[in-house]
């Protein structure tokens, strides 16, 4: 029996292995990492009958091009992604997201680009054959943590695929990545460091997502948010979704690969239910914030979680 594997013919801009992240290492300086958009990660695995702990490939903007070698496998792509399958006889199939496809020996999978979002996910049936590093398949490339020494995908890389015993079946689900009007937030622990006008600006005016946005953080620009107390605080722990205001007044939202400690005042924290949607916002998108309370945030999370479960149940 031959090994099933993908050979990387083009690595893409920012392609990494991810799962649900790495817990309990903040105190040594390692963030959660993990798939930026957790719901799309879960759906991609469900569509190929994987349990939700399997590692997948996350890509951003231009994705990878692979050649499949082996008997056959099935894969799924989630997000808002343009891709095609090039069969061995050169016929081309334009791919649809949220649907599983079968690949045969020497077929190619070309993940051309994400459309009006940043991240997409590729899962294969049985999962990629990877080593767990510090309890996770997630890549944190800045500290070389993850499979393949924490490297992003690279040219000519061979990625082994686990063998599966059950027959491959085609699955599909209807899902639209809904847009949001507001990013809902809770007050940060330094909310009162900012002037009344600054706080009003923050909650009432529009901000624009800048190009300085990656897995670590998202910089946004808008009206100035004036700090009337202290520009720096003693470095302390932060969490993903934290909105920090550095001395220049332009907010930075901490994302999944953020530095674990920060020294800028925190004006707010994005609620967990809105995180998946936040990370998918492409540069130049206009966003507004809406302040809610903890009770409401918890209710919204329950709703988000239920919605995810319903989607996964539809696939089963």
């Amino acid at each position: 029996m031959k090994n099933n594997f993908f050979e990387v013919l083009r690595a893409g801009i920012n392609s990494t292995f991810q799962d649900q992240g790495r817990e309990n290492f903040y105190h040594i300086g390692l963030p959660f990492s993990g798939a930026m958009d957790n719901r799309n990660f879960l759906i991609s695995n469900a569509l190929v009958n994987n349990e939700d702990k399997q590692g997948v490939i996350e890509f951003a903007y231009q994705g990878p091009l692979f050649e499949f070698n082996g008997e056959n496998t099935s894969f799924s792509i989630t997000g808002d992604v343009k891709f095609k399958i090039i069969k061995k006889d050169n016929t081309i199939i334009n791919g649809e997201c949220y649907k599983s496809y079968i690949l045969n020996h020497k077929d190619k999978l070309d993940i051309i680009t994400t459309n009006k979002s940043i991240y997409g996910y590729l899962a294969v049936s049985g999962g990629f054959s990877l080593d767990k590093i510090l309890n996770s398949y997630s890549t944190f490339s800045r500290a070389n943590v993850g499979p393949f020494n924490g490297k992003k995908l690279f040219l000519k890389q061979k990625i082994l695929i686990n063998k599966i015993n059950q027959p491959l079946q085609s699955k599909q689900v209807k899902y639209l990545n809904s847009k949001i009007e507001y990013i809902r937030i809770l007050k940060g622990t330094n909310y009162d460091y900012f002037s009344k006008e600054g706080r009003d600006n923050f909650l009432k005016k529009e901000f624009i997502v800048t190009k300085l946005t990656d897995r670590m953080g998202m910089r946004i620009e808008g009206p100035k948010i004036e700090n009337i107390k202290e520009k720096n605080i003693r470095s302390e722990g932060i969490v993903k979704g934290t909105i920090q205001i550095p001395p220049d007044g332009n907010p930075i939202i901490m994302l999944s690969d953020h530095g674990t400690i920060g020294g800028y005042p925190k004006i707010g924290v994005v609620i967990s239910a809105d995180y998946d949607k936040l990370v998918q916002l492409i540069p130049n998108t206009k966003i507004k914030f809406k302040l809610i309370d903890l009770y409401e945030a918890e209710k919204l999370y329950k709703f988000y979680s239920l919605e995810t479960k319903n989607l996964l149940n539809q696939i089963k």
Binding site: G29, G237, V269
Partner: protein, 225 residues
């Protein structure tokens, strides 16, 4: 002991141990951190100690701010772990390019390079916290005469292994990274090893660290290991 408990977003608890930045306050944070960690509660996903704060991240699927706050508010705090604090001796080379801010420090502190190094090497440092980048220890306190601000414009790249000072603290850049600390030397010692499952980092909060000087030749030898 805890001055204030707040929520940080909907999935983390924020413990404030007061405004004082000293070893006494920080030891309380570390003892709380270790006691909580040893309970191995499944709902807790991360605990981040810093100088005077402790952030407890939790899994919102299975608990909530109020429930978890009540559950852990009165846990027994053990000081047992203080016994496991290590003493670590690290080689440092301060020759040539490794002493990146030699000029700035001699001018600003009004001390000769020799005096600066003597004062720096004389002290034993307490590790307050680890983080920002993987494995980076924040340690103190340095000699009062060496107190200095961060660089006005941070360097885009601080070389891996660089040892920096600012205010009352010293740190080690475990990876090449942007940074604004004043660089006094470089250590060839590996601080972070992700492949080592049990002990991925060498220096943990509470440990005591001192430095001994080595030559460039010795540095090269150690670096090859």
């Amino acid at each position: 002991m805890i001055k204030n408990i707040l929520n940080l977003g909907d999935a983390a608890i924020y413990y404030d141990f007061g405004d004082q930045i000293n070893i006494e306050t920080n030891t309380k944070v570390i003892n709380y951190f270790n006691s909580l960690k040893n309970l191995n509660l499944e709902e807790i996903t991360n605990i981040t100690p810093s100088y005077n704060k402790l952030i407890i991240s939790f899994n919102l699927e299975i608990t909530s701010f109020l429930d978890l706050k009540e559950k852990i508010q009165n846990i027994k705090i053990s000081t047992e772990n203080e016994k496991s604090f290590k003493k670590i001796k690290l080689p440092i080379c301060c020759e040539g390019d490794f002493f990146l801010d030699k000029e700035r420090l001699t001018n600003k502190l009004n001390l000769s390079p020799k005096e600066i190094l003597k004062k720096f090497l004389n002290q034993e440092y307490f590790c307050y916290m680890t983080g920002f980048i993987a494995g980076m220890p924040f340690m103190g306190n340095i000699d009062k005469d060496l107190g200095i601000e961060r660089l006005k414009t941070p360097r885009v790249k601080v070389p891996k292994g660089s040892v920096g000072i600012t205010e009352q603290f010293t740190n080690i850049y475990t990876f090449e990274s942007p940074g604004g600390w004043n660089i006094i030397g470089n250590t060839p010692q590996k601080i972070f090893e992700p492949g080592n499952k049990d002990k991925p980092i060498l220096i943990n909060p509470g440990d005591k660290v001192s430095f001994f000087q080595i030559s460039k030749t010795e540095y090269k030898k150690l670096n090859e290991k």
